[in-house]
């Protein structure tokens, strides 16, 4: 159990390449990638869901992502762009978009037609309906998509250490090349912990942001079931 020794060794908790530094790097990549992915996927998904045009593309991209080998995409983009941070980050953004896109699309699409009709009957128009009614009602599924996207990015960013990205994956890849197994195992524990904590934090955020009206016993359960099922599956592409 010498990986525990590695984990508690003070030398690994300060200075270059220390655990806090690698953690900040990993979180930083994840945050940057998610901001870009959300900025692209939420407006696009909302537009497609609102107008109903091109829905099959969204469903196709989310399903196709499952079959796409992330390591292959990473290597290919690094070969195109050269070693550095750009290739891996572009790959991460590409892999982060489909779950958010699918969640937003499904969320907006599945808003109860009677609710939209009621909003129109109250005099709301296109923009008002989208921002005041459709998006808030779609929020559980949008956040569900973001959750599975974040897991995908944390997981793939770990693998991206193989093509030179920093972050917690470095411990696994560097440990492998020097046959330092305690370092590898400690790294894998840190990555797993990060993923679990991030997922729980986002679940908490979901509770906080989603309107209480959507969380009541009956409908809430249905919405949660929808929110976790298809997107969870998409998350397991890495």
């Amino acid at each position: 159990m010498n990986f525990l020794g590695w984990l508690v060794d003070p030398a690994h908790w300060s200075g270059p390449g220390s655990i806090p530094q690698r953690l900040v790097e990993h979180l930083g990549y994840t945050a940057l990638v998610m901001i870009i992915a959300i900025a692209i996927a939420v407006p696009l998904g909302a537009w497609i869901g609102h107008t109903g045009k091109g829905g099959f593309l969204v469903v196709g991209s989310a399903n196709g992502l499952r079959a796409l080998p992330t390591l292959g995409v990473l290597v290919l983009l690094v070969q195109w762009t050269g070693l550095g941070i750009i290739g891996p980050l572009v790959a991460l953004v590409l892999l982060a978009i489909p779950p958010v896109l699918a969640g937003t699309y499904a969320g907006v699409r599945n808003v109860d037609a009677a609710v939209v009709d009621a909003a129109r009957g109250m005099g709301m128009r296109g923009r008002g309906v989208l921002f005041g009614v459709e998006l808030p009602n779609a929020l559980p599924l949008i956040i569900g998509g973001v959750r599975s996207s974040v897991l995908q990015v944390i997981s793939t960013a770990t693998i991206a250490a193989y093509v030179g990205l920093d972050g917690l994956g470095r411990y696994i890849i560097d440990g492998l090349s020097t046959r330092d197994f305690p370092q590898m195992i400690a790294g894998s524990i840190l990555v797993a912990l990060l993923a679990v904590v991030a997922d729980l934090a986002l679940a908490g955020l979901q509770k906080l942001l989603v309107s209480p009206g959507l969380q009541t016993a009956g409908t809430g359960r249905r919405v949660r079931a929808l929110a976790t099922r298809p997107t969870d599956n998409a998350a397991r592409a890495a």
Partner: protein, 220 residues
């Protein structure tokens, strides 16, 4: 694409490795998921435990699980068994929920009718509840198989990845054709397996086809 034609033997070997590495875990996962899903569906507390545990396991990134499993299993850190067990864990985590959901969705009327006809619980489960659940379970198996086929490639980082070795080899020797061919093969294999599973589902549920034909006949 010269590289591909010159390395057909190498690719064929990786492909057969890949099929074994990716599909054996799905089969084991399904065999374990059926009794566990049944149990989860019967007992309320069991269901919460199973669903949450499955969700937790599903959250762990693949590379981390590949590296951490030896600590639990006592295997060598570079043992291919780790990859197979890790993928079995993912398949099981996904399928146990699917099986529980599928069994829950069996219409109670059907179960009551079978009971009234004298089916004992075990026979009723095997002859009525399980067959009726096939479409939902199969949808889960398709997701598990496609994910598994794509996930195997991550194993190549630690030395066992089937077709994923075309990514690591192509990266180290800077052969883009090898990487592209690898991606195409993995996606193609996933599509073929997905299509085959769809076919198996059709064969396993002839009543579904009959119902579809009647519906179409009615609308025509």
């Amino acid at each position: 694409m010269n590289w591909v034609s010159q390395n057909l033997g190498f690719i064929a070997g990786l492909l057969s490795d890949h099929i074994v590495f990716s599909l054996v875990p799905v089969v084991i996962g399904l065999v374990l998921a059926i009794p566990l899903g049944w149990l989860a569906n019967r007992a309320g507390v069991g269901r919460t435990v199973v669903v949450n545990l499955a969700g937790l396991l599903y959250t762990i990134p693949s590379l981390a699980l590949f590296v951490f499993l030896p600590v639990v299993l006592g295997t060598g850190i570079l043992d291919p068994v780790n990859v197979i067990v890790a993928l079995t864990v993912y398949s099981l985590a996904l399928l146990v929920r699917t099986v529980a959901d599928a069994l829950e969705a069996v219409p109670p009327v059907l179960v009551d009718a079978a009971t009234a006809m004298g089916y004992a619980p075990v026979r009723r489960f095997l002859a009525v509840e399980l067959p009726v659940s096939v479409p939902v379970i199969l949808a889960g198996v398709r997701v598990a198989a496609v994910s598994s086929i794509s996930l195997v490639t991550v194993g190549s980082v630690i030395g066992f990845g089937g077709l994923g070795q075309m990514f690591t080899d192509g990266f180290q020797r800077d052969i883009t054709a090898e990487v592209v061919a690898g991606i195409v093969l993995v996606v193609a294999l996933a599509l073929v397996v997905d299509g085959l599973l769809l076919l198996v589902g059709r064969l396993l549920t002839p009543w579904d086809r009959a119902a579809r034909a009647t519906r179409q006949g009615a609308t025509a």
